[in-house]
């Protein structure tokens, strides 16, 4: 990949990290709050069903993680597994598509 391409990935990784810092903080507080009296599907769905705020929050969360995780794995695969080049980027593009699809399926699953 060109230097410019690498620089764009670096910026995308930091920008998504900044968004995720906020999303993960909210998520951790929600997790600890939600498991206090035992986790139940009814309680989760009561919170999320029809809530535009949670829908927006989780959609942003999924988008940020779809950008962040494949770029992070790209460095790990290159440095620890010696996998570089187009095949690696293509595989990570597929992984990003999988995260976006499953992620939005989950968001819609608990919203609708």
């Amino acid at each position: 990949m060109s230097f410019r391409g690498e620089a764009r990935l670096w910026i995308a990784q930091r920008a998504s990290a900044a968004v995720l810092a906020l999303c993960v903080s909210v998520h951790l507080v929600t997790i600890v709050y939600a498991v206090r009296s035992g986790l139940s599907a009814a309680e989760i769905l009561e919170r999320t069903r029809g809530s535009a705020a949670w829908f927006g929050f989780y959609s942003l969360f999924v988008l940020a993680v779809t950008v962040h995780a494949p770029i992070g794995l790209r460095s790990v695969l290159g440095e620890w597994a010696g996998w570089r080049g187009r095949s690696r980027d293509f595989a990570l593009l597929l992984f990003a598509a999988l995260l976006a699809w499953l992620g939005m399926r989950a968001v819609l699953g608990v919203f609708a």
Binding site: A17, A21, A41, L102, G103
Partner: protein, 104 residues
């Protein structure tokens, strides 16, 4: 190099990131089947699943702490504070782990 706290902060950040990337598709898949969520949550009551849940929540907290450390190192002029940042990231992960364990 392996004696330095920054090396271990790097390893924890990386390993927790890989664990989270592997966990996410499963997490999304389970949530996407919202109608069967109650059955799935019953399945998660097993001790080994509980332990894995705890590990992944700690990994999430550790990755957040480690990520904030990286952002601070890259964007703020505080390089002398590296060890303190690594310690703060570790303390944060531990605190979230304890809070989660107590709430379980």
């Amino acid at each position: 190099m392996r004696q330095h706290p920054s090396y271990w902060a790097f390893i924890v950040h990386r390993v927790s990131g890989v664990a989270l990337a592997a966990f996410l598709p499963l997490h999304f898949w389970a949530l996407g089947n919202a109608l069967q969520l109650e059955d799935f949550l019953r399945w998660t009551q097993q001790p080994l699943v509980k332990l894995s849940e705890w590990l992944i929540v700690v990994a999430l907290a550790a990755h957040l702490g480690g990520g904030l450390r990286v952002l601070a190192l890259e964007f703020l002029p505080w390089r002398d504070w590296q060890k303190s940042l690594a310690a703060a990231a570790a303390a944060f992960a531990l605190a979230v782990g304890l809070a989660f364990a107590l709430a379980l």
